[in-house]
Subunit: 212 residues, 2 copies
DNA sequence: TAGATTGTTAATCGATTAACAATC
DNA sequence: TAGATTGTTAATCGATTAACAATC
């Protein structure tokens, strides 16, 4: 039964479904049952059927799910069928690494521009994207259709840059700074998705503790 | 009441407690109540008291929690008071960015060495860490006390490198490849903590969809 | 048709929130 | 002391798992 409000737990499993289906597809697998997919992913068949039923009825009794079409359905649910505009702010080591390595297109985004305040990097082109002066960020956002900003600035600038981005009507912020940036109440619809490297490493540290 | 098995949800909040307490500490705040901390972090006071009670009794009725000592307690729970050995495998753009930017020490790790197979990078020193030939990885792990490996190799090598690391007795793998590496059953105690960039961006993509 | 497997309803499990006696 | 706030127990809420009729 199609659900209105999808729980966070379900949403965060969607990209994993996508990755697993992509692998099956690459291997030429045509159809898969919830129990086989569950075995692959370490989930119960029940959970998979529950998850998918939030979005529609994609399977067929006695057959299972068609790998290709389920894959496309989930891509569409995630919005990966379209290309939304993205910019990157803060062209340091991490920003550069993302620009060079990360495949924005395959997650449904088109990295259009990058911004920094360092004269040494302004004007450079990295992986086909020009680095612009951050002073002109507002002007750029005014003129272009940008949905998401990748935030790779030093921590101390994170909130200020966020405020500027939000004021320009950005829809989402992909936050790599080790700081929980906040969006003002009047723009509560702006989504912040954070990758906190050190949180993750600290969890790993906890999990390998000796408590034998 | 001290608990034996801590739930994943609680564990993943610990680094956030840490960051928030660090900020309070920096601001010279001496004590804080669960309700004030909850307000800061967007959690209920109940949840904070429940979370902390898994590990001991850190507060005092009528007073709250001492910021400094709670901070130190949580750091210790996470294992950040010690420095464990770490290596990094795969010195590409992302690997280099982590070596240059990421503060391993403040999360309780000492990055001792890096490995790659590219002759161009072998022998180079990056941020004080020497890049070695990956062929010698086993020998190195034999001779040094390394708890964690940072996995920043290209996706297609992820599983093979993981197998080698696990065979050498690594305790944890910090996985940055977009692949869910698996540890063999006989080493099920090896912990894999993954940062999947594209999963995160895809979740953001979903969350900014228009469904008005 | 018979076997397989779905989507959904019900049952269970776990996590969050509320309430409150204990006590600083 | 009186007010504040803890740690813990109980209640609620939500997510996962189990069961099963429907049906390909």
């Amino acid at each position: 039964m199609r659900k209105d409000k999808i729980s966070n737990a379900v949403i965060r499993r969607l990209p994993r479904y996508c990755r697993n289906l992509e692998a099956l597809r690459r291997d030429g697998v045509e159809r898969i049952s919830s129990s086989a997919l569950g075995r692959n992913m370490g989930l119960t068949a029940s959970q998979i059927r529950q998850d998918l039923s939030c979005f529609g009825e994609f399977g067929q009794q006695g057959y299972g799910y068609n790998v290709e079409s389920l894959y496309q359905e989930i891509r569409e649910i995630l919005g990966m069928h379209r290309q939304r505009g993205a910019i990157l702010v803060g062209v340091g080591n991490l920003g550069r690494a993302l620009m060079r390595n990360f495949d924005f297109a395959s997650s449904g985004f088109d990295l259009q521009a990058a911004f920094d305040i360092q004269p040494e990097v302004i004007g450079r082109e990295i992986h086909g994207v020009t680095v612009r002066d951050a002073a002109g960020m507002e002007e750029y956002l005014e003129a272009h259709d940008v949905a998401v900003a990748v935030l790779t600035v030093p921590q101390q600038h994170a909130q200020r840059v966020t405020d500027r981005l939000v004021a320009c009507g950005i829809r989402g912020i992909w936050n790599f700074t080790n700081f929980d940036v906040e969006v003002p109440e009047e723009h509560a619809d702006v989504v912040v998705e954070s990758i906190h490297f050190s949180d993750s490493l600290q969890v790993l540290s906890y999990l390998i503790r000796d408590n034998a």
